[in-house]
């Protein structure tokens, strides 16, 4: 099994033999920052292309086909367009908060992105309270969204931001509860450890019924947190034009757009890490199958699982009817959260009986 740890360790050793401690750390920080930003941007472009293509296929269309093979360069062209666009300065906005909001949203999503374990050694932030870190940092985005809606000084953005705040804070609970169910099963909050523990079977198989319930709840709640699909009330196109980012233009709008797509990826990646084993290959009781599975590099396993979850999100987006805001909150507070709480008890019983 090839791990990226070999590469990262070699870079670390090379720097340490040639430079002193401080310089090594500085260069490594810069390298990690550049790598994360690059992967972030490339993934965003890929996701935008993927969404347009998959949505088109769901609607019996072909999607972008003109720029590059299968329209692959379409999102690159769109990015160049959005970078060249003028940033319109509005008169009645609160200028400081207006500018700050888009940065807050993207910083929250970048911080979360850094904590995702792509592979052994391809893991920028690995705290021993990794799950708490993920939950804490990913909910920072709500502040950015609320600020964006408030500072724009428009009724559409205001309503969008208030809906968004209500939705994100509510669904944060279900997200946290379902992740805690897995934390109970694994006994650790460190993401690298959680992945290691799934070497002999992913948690969705090991955890039995409570883990499956937690997985479904996490998918629903996570989907609601990305403001997409049947839960797209914060930016309801038909009612609020674009919700909280109506007044933004140019690269500031681009930040919101980028963060939205990356949040979808992050939710899918966390689902893959916590429930589907992260970069761990599928291990079965049969040795022969295990060796074949080990030949596939872990990075491919990780991206395969993540894009499976992303595809689920896109599928659901076009299949399900939209909810009203009261139905949305009812779904969370009266259905998902009680099920999540009972599910934690179930998981406690499961751990007591089988471990």
């Amino acid at each position: 099994m090839f791990h990226f740890k070999v590469v990262t360790d070699w870079i670390d050793e090379f720097l340490r033999t040639n430079l002193n401690e401080g310089w090594t750390l500085l260069i490594e920080f810069i390298l990690i920052g550049v790598a994360i930003l690059t992967v972030y941007a490339v993934l965003a472009l890929l996701l935008i292309w993927l969404e347009r293509k998959v949505c088109a296929f769901f609607q019996c269309r072909l999607g972008p086909t003109r720029v590059g093979p299968w329209g692959l360069l379409q999102s690159v062209a769109d990015m160049i367009k959005i970078l060249l666009k003028e940033i319109i300065h509005l008169n009645h906005v609160d200028p400081r908060l207006f500018r700050l909001a888009s940065f807050l949203v993207i910083i929250a999503s970048l911080c979360t992105f850094g904590a995702i374990p792509f592979d052994k050694g391809l893991h920028a932030v690995d705290f021993n309270i990794g799950v708490f870190y993920l939950l804490a940092v990913s909910s920072l985005g709500v502040v950015g969204i609320l600020l964006a809606g408030w500072s724009s000084n428009s009724k559409y953005t205001m309503i969008g931001a208030m809906r968004s705040g209500a939705q994100l804070i509510s669904y944060e609970l279900s997200c946290g509860l379902s992740l805690l169910t897995i934390v109970m099963l694994s006994g650790t909050m460190q993401l690298s450890q959680i992945v290691e523990l799934q070497a002999d079977g992913w948690f969705i198989f090991k955890g039995g019924i409570p883990a499956i319930i937690a997985f479904v709840i996490y998918l629903i709640a996570g989907h609601a947190e990305t403001n997409r699909g049947p839960f797209d009330l914060p930016e309801a196109e038909s009612e609020l034009t674009a919700g909280y980012h109506t007044e933004y233009s140019g690269i500031q709008f681009g930040f919101f757009y980028l963060a939205e797509y990356l949040n979808m990826f992050i939710i899918a990646a966390i689902a893959a890490t916590m429930f589907l084993g992260g970069w761990m290959p599928l291990h079965t009781p049969w040795e022969g199958v295990n060796t074949i599975m080990d030949y596939i590099p872990p990075v491919i396993w990780f991206f395969g699982k993540t894009f499976f979850c992303v595809f689920l999100a896109l599928w659901v987006r076009w299949a399900f009817p939209r909810l009203r805001i009261d139905q949305l909150l009812k779904l969370e507070w009266k259905i998902l959260m009680p099920i999540g709480l009972v599910n934690i008890l179930l998981m406690a019983l499961w751990v007591l009986i089988f471990n």
């Binding site: 998959v54 296929f57 769901f58 609607q59 019996c60 269309r61 072909l62 086909t65 599928w315 659901v316 076009w318 299949a319 399900f320």
Partner: protein, 159 residues
């Protein structure tokens, strides 16, 4: 109890929706890639692309320049310009078609002209690429240079 039943029924219906959407996903796409498929004739037989006046091999058309199409056209799209010509056999003056002008720019493709034509001299073609750089080019002359009226007896024998 009823609530629980409705809960699972709702989930079942959502799954049905996902199944239908998935069917669409794997269905072959019908989108036509336009400039690449120029050779392919895909509009339907009844498509009203533009007005044409069919000519036979001897450069003869069936238009007698009666002007019924011009009168019937609601938009003034058609202009039938006729001239007087002396028939060689009888020595009488006769009205023949000089120029048949058709302006695609003001045509609404209502097809009143082809319906009202007593000689079936004009019909629709399936060409839909009308884009031009100037509006003057949209006005076309439908009868060809030096064309003449087809002999009527010949038409009757054929039919």
């Amino acid at each position: 109890m009823r609530d629980i039943r409705e809960f699972f029924l709702g989930i079942w219906h959502l799954l049905q929706g996902m199944y239908v959407v998935m069917l669409n996903f794997i269905r072959p796409k019908v989108t036509e890639q336009y400039p690449e498929n120029r050779g392919k004739v895909f509009p339907a037989e009844r498509m009203r692309g533009e007005l044409v006046m069919p000519h036979n091999e001897a450069n003869q058309h069936k238009c007698t320049a009666c002007g019924i199409c011009e009168i019937n056209c609601p938009n003034g799209t058609i202009q039938v310009i006729s001239k007087k010509e002396v028939d060689g056999a009888t020595g009488k003056e006769k009205k023949v078609l000089d120029r048949y002008l058709y302006d695609v720019g003001s045509c609404t493709f209502c097809s009143v002209c082809t319906i009202s034509c007593p000689q079936d001299a004009i019909e629709w073609s399936r060409n839909f690429e009308h884009a031009m750089f100037t509006r003057a080019k949209l006005v076309q002359r439908l009868n060809k240079e030096g064309s003449s009226l087809a002999k009527k007896e010949k038409v009757e024998k054929e039919s």
